[in-house]
């Protein structure tokens, strides 16, 4: 966008009650300008503007570009990360609905990035029709990232959601699976066991070695760390 157009646009927008949004956009502009080379900045700005026009949150996109700049990634990589995130935000909104908060959308985008399907997001929304979904989605992404197979992770998270359990149940599940996996347990088994515990309303004791060894044998034969 040329400086003239930018200037013209700013002049009009400032005169209107949208001054707040314009100030935010201008601030984003300045942050990008401070960290990115001009070529990359133009491309990223275009992605940000396009997202804004589509009613998608723009701050996550700016943050992503700044993250890339701080990690000294090259311009191509940064641009790709931003446009890919924009696409995931869009897909996230398709599945989670127009009422989803920014946190919900970003959490949904992360879940999609982790390999969770859009349909699972849709089902999660159906399981919790109103209210925030950020925590279940964060926990879902965490489980998958730690090695729980996508379908297993989706199944347990949906199960907990359909039981009407609150965010603390999900956070407990995440903490316990994390501890188990760090201790060497197969992620899929840990997820299953700890979900049972959360649904039962208490902490399940670790299973006897025999049952766990069987589960391990099954899990490691396909061996996907």
């Amino acid at each position: 966008m040329s400086a003239v157009v930018r200037h013209f646009r700013s002049a009009i927008v400032l005169g209107v009650a949208l001054a707040g949004a314009a100030a935010a956009a201008a601030a984003q502009d300045a942050r990008l300008g401070a960290q990115l080379d001009e070529g990359t900045r133009v491309l990223v700005q275009a992605a940000v503007d396009s997202a804004r026009a589509a009613g998608l949150p723009t701050e996550p996109l700016v943050d992503k570009a700044l993250e890339g700049a701080r990690k000294r990634a090259d311009g191509t990589r940064i641009t790709r990360a931003v446009t890919a995130l924009a696409a995931r935000l869009r897909a996230s909104r398709s599945s989670l609905g127009a009422g989803a908060t920014e946190s919900d959308l970003v959490a949904g985008a992360a879940a999609l990035q982790a390999g969770v399907s859009a349909d699972v997001l849709h089902q999660l929304r159906a399981a919790r029709p109103s209210g925030a979904l950020a925590v279940p989605l964060v926990v879902l992404s965490d489980l998958v990232t730690r090695g729980v197979p996508t379908d297993t992770a989706a199944a347990v998270v949906l199960l907990v959601a359909r039981e009407g359990m609150g965010d603390d149940a999900f956070l407990t599940l995440q903490r316990e699976v994390q501890r188990d996996v760090m201790g060497g347990a197969p992620p899929a088994s840990a997820a299953a066991v700890r979900t049972r515990g959360v649904l039962a309303g208490g902490t399940v004791r670790r299973p006897a070695r025999n049952a766990a060894t069987d589960a391990t044998r099954n899990a490691t034969s396909s061996a996907k760390p």
Partner: protein
């Protein structure tokens, strides 16, 4: 020509045509190592034995440290635990608890401000900072303060989901070992997630 001979010929043609794939450059390998360093604490040996293991001493102590800190926060004390010898090894920072957000009064909308505390046990670090979407990933913006190797800082962030990481000695980016993980994306990354305003 037999089937097998034909198969061999086809295979040889394909191999020759495809060559060796994109070249492995020093830059690409350096990017791999950058991502590896950012992936967090050195993996622990011996996790390969099948079945459930009893928690290693390291895990037990980390858990007790987290327990102590939770207790401290609940009672508003300013106790600082002694570093445990043999546990906090150099270049193996252990998070002593995920950031614990304070409860906000009333419903927490996505714009409410929430006080959170970042904590990392890293006795051999010369500096630790937290970077995230709340400070433009700027390693200079939010340094943590050290009390005998336990680094911490209290910050105010907007309620909701945040990506973050710790930066050790200005260059080494690591995830928070005790927080939920974010998946890696086009930038590599894959650090930690904080949900401010959620119950711990």
């Amino acid at each position: 020509m037999t089937d097998e001979e034909r198969e061999m010929r086809l295979a040889a043609d394909v191999r020759e045509a495809l060559g060796n794939g994109p070249p492995s450059t020093p830059e690409a390998r350096a990017r791999v190592m950058e991502a590896v360093r950012a992936a967090g604490a050195t993996p622990r040996a011996g996790a390969s034995r099948p079945g459930w293991r009893s928690p290693g001493v390291g895990l037990l102590v980390a858990a007790s440290i987290a327990g102590i800190i939770a207790l401290v926060r609940a009672r508003g004390l300013s106790y600082v635990p002694e570093p445990v010898p043999g546990i906090n090894r150099p270049s193996q920072p252990v998070a002593a608890g995920a950031p614990t957000p304070a409860r906000s009064v009333g419903a927490v909308s996505d714009n409410a401000a929430v006080r959170v505390q970042f904590v990392l046990v890293a006795p051999d670090a010369k500096s630790v900072a937290v970077v995230g979407d709340f400070n433009d990933w700027n390693p200079s913006a939010t340094p943590l303060e050290s009390a005998r190797g336990m680094w911490s800082s209290e910050e105010v962030v907007t309620a909701g989901r945040h990506d973050y990481a710790f930066v050790i000695d200005g260059t080494r980016w690591i995830a928070d070992p005790s927080a939920p993980q974010a998946p890696a994306d086009e930038l590599g990354g894959g650090y930690s997630v904080l949900i401010a305003g959620a119950k711990p």
